[in-house]
Amino acid sequence: MEQSAKLPIPNTLSTPLKSLLVRWETFLLAVFAAVFIAFSVTSPYFLNVWNLSDATFNFTERALIALPMAMLIICREIDLSVASIIALASVAMGYVAQTGADVPLIVLTGITVGLLCGLFNGFVVTTFGIPSIVVTIGTMSLFRGITQGLMGNQVLRDYPFEFAFFGQGYVYWVFSFQFVLFLSCALLFYILLHRTNFGRRTYAIGNNPTAAEFSGIKVRRHKMILFAMVGVMAGVASVLLTSRLGSTRPAIAFGWELSIVTMVVLGGVNILGGSGTIPGVVIAAFLMGVVTFGLGLMNIPGIVMNIIIGLMLITVISIPVIMRRIQQHRSRHL
């Protein structure tokens, strides 16, 4: 107990130079810069604004979900069903589009389905007090299964022409709608987590749910809201992805949950809850995007990129632990 009292709470955004240098985000940014420079040197096609703009499509949809997911993980919960929510929302949009509905209704359908799925997760987790990893493994299968059951092996592709804007349109010059939306959401979530009471409560619950409960924080309601937010963002991501692909298949976004969690953990969010920042997650998203893009330029197949992402995840998690061990070892011998 005494030891945990001595542990610093690593969620304050202090600005002195020294603390900035030892921060996780700085480290990530350095890695990002190194990777960026390495790719610019090795590939002549890398430093091209349009290519780089295309590269953002690789990660913005996932990164959008990673933002609320970071808050959920800080709060000691997790949602593994996000990719299945994307699929279910996409199918719902496909069917609505088939009836000849216009764009706002299609988008609204996608986001509403996302919200409902998130609320369902939150309801089961908070009402029955079951670990969310178990619940969302169940809903992951349930949501994806409903998608498969409804669709069989058909493809839905009756989307109106204007619907393509969300996934393929540009707001200004090389800045795609997706990218701008991601940046705005990142700013919103930054404010929400680091500048509001809601954000402080998220850390409080993540650091000590019991103390949070006793300090009058409505823990269950808070978690419910976070699950709903993840659901809504999964709905938004579904709109973007469906619009970009122009079609819905049952296997849409398959396996994304794990790359989203990877993104969050890479961003310095403690998987056990209690610490992490939005800037970290955003940098991690960019890092994963640039690695995927750069390796793609070098003709490396996606599955091999997964090896590199996996290695990155493990290395990046282990380094601080090893450093701490070395430090402890030294101080013990002084």
């Binding site: 030891q3 089961v124 990893i133 299968s141 349930l142 299964g145 794990l258 995840l313 493990i314 282990s318």
Partner: protein
């Protein structure tokens, strides 16, 4: 203590009754399902899931999770398949031993990170899952190993009948028997429960919690390796996406079987019945005339219902906060990465 044992017993009995009811209902819709030959074939189809679920059970008992089992299975399966295609003369028994050893090594990598560095298991196995899966592609170059490249002996072993039951099923029965023996009668097996149920108390009893977790990963890996051979041999093909996403079915089987994800609670019978439950669902849908496409949704619904049912029977009203506090302590402890007690220096 006795009452807890009684209570646990009751839960597995309950699940057993549910499974029997399900068999009876399916049988009443289509009597062909109840033919002995069909029941054996359903069990045979579920054998690999059962073996993996038992390995996963040990890992979950120690408060960890192994998401890399399916990738481990696929990688060892591919290695064994490639070796067999290249050296058809090499005895298959040797290949099986090799598969088990290789799986154990892959599991040991997971375990070492958890034990020595204290990295959360979900993060490590998420990483190794991608790495193992990607390595299959590196090894095979994306090619398939097909049935005609495999030696007849390689394909024959799981199919051989012994007392009318395929060897594949016998293997799962042997694993079940071993697991029952270990988890009930050996200190080695009891340590999984101790380490997961209360790591701090386990430490004071002289148990090295990290090492127990390491051993759970090694066993889970070894079983995944064994299943790698069984899978490739049974389906007579090895390719990069073998058993993709199967890890979640394995975890689901444990969860349905009442293995608590918080650690320390669970039985071999539970994991076995959980796996059997999923196996029966996936094998019976077409028999009772439900589209195969609904299988995933049904298993999802079953998982949720099962965890709700388990949590309700476990719930002690008014003590949730206390329970969470205990869990929080443990998480603090594992976050620190060592089990040294606080000494208040």
């Amino acid at each position: 203590m006795n009452s807890i044992v009684e209570f646990l017993k009751r839960r597995e009995v309950l699940l057993g009754i549910v499974v029997l009811c399900m068999i009876a209902i399916i049988g009443s819709i289509n009597p062909n399902f109840l033919q002995i030959r069909n029941l054996i074939s359903v069990y045979n189809d579920t054998s690999i899931l059962i073996i993996l679920a038992l390995g996963q059970m040990l890992v979950i008992l120690t408060r960890c999770i192994d998401l890399s089992v399916a990738a481990n299975l696929a990688l060892t399966g591919m290695v064994v398949g490639l070796l067999n295609a290249a050296f058809p003369g090499f005895p298959v028994e040797g290949l099986i031993v090799l598969a088990v050893l290789m799986g154990a090594c892959l599991g040991a990598i997971n375990g070492a990170f958890v034990w020595l560095l204290g990295v959360p298991a979900i993060v490590v196995t998420l990483g190794t899952m991608s790495i193992y899966r990607g390595s299959i592609f590196l090894l095979s170059g994306g090619d398939w190993v097909n049935a005609h490249q495999m030696s007849p002996a390689f394909l024959a072993i799981p199919r051989q009948l012994f007392l009318g039951v395929p060897v594949l099923s016998w293997m799962s029965l042997i694993v079940i028997a071993l697991m029952v023996y270990i988890t009930r009668f050996r200190p080695f097996g009891r340590q999984f429960f101790a380490a997961g149920g209360n790591p701090r108390a386990a430490f004071y009893t002289g148990i090295n919690v990290g090492f127990v977790q390491f051993r759970a990963f090694v066993i889970s890996g070894a079983l995944a390796g064994l299943c790698g051979y069984l899978w490739v041999s049974r389906y007579a093909v090895a390719y990069t996406e073998v058993a993709n996403g199967f890890e979640l079915q394995v975890v689901a089987a444990c969860v349905i079987g009442g293995i608590s994800i918080m650690g320390g609670v669970g039985t071999v019978a539970g994991a076995f019945l959980g796996a059997l439950f999923l196996g029966i669902i996936s094998n019976s849908l077409s028999i009772i005339g439900v589209s195969q496409f609904w299988q995933m949704a049904i298993s999802g619904a079953v998982i949720i219902i099962a965890v709700i049912a388990n949590s309700r029977s476990e719930k002690k009203p008014g003590r949730i906060i206390l329970r969470e506090a205990v869990a929080a302590d443990a998480i603090d402890e594992s976050a620190r990465g060592d089990t040294r007690p606080a000494t208040g220096q």
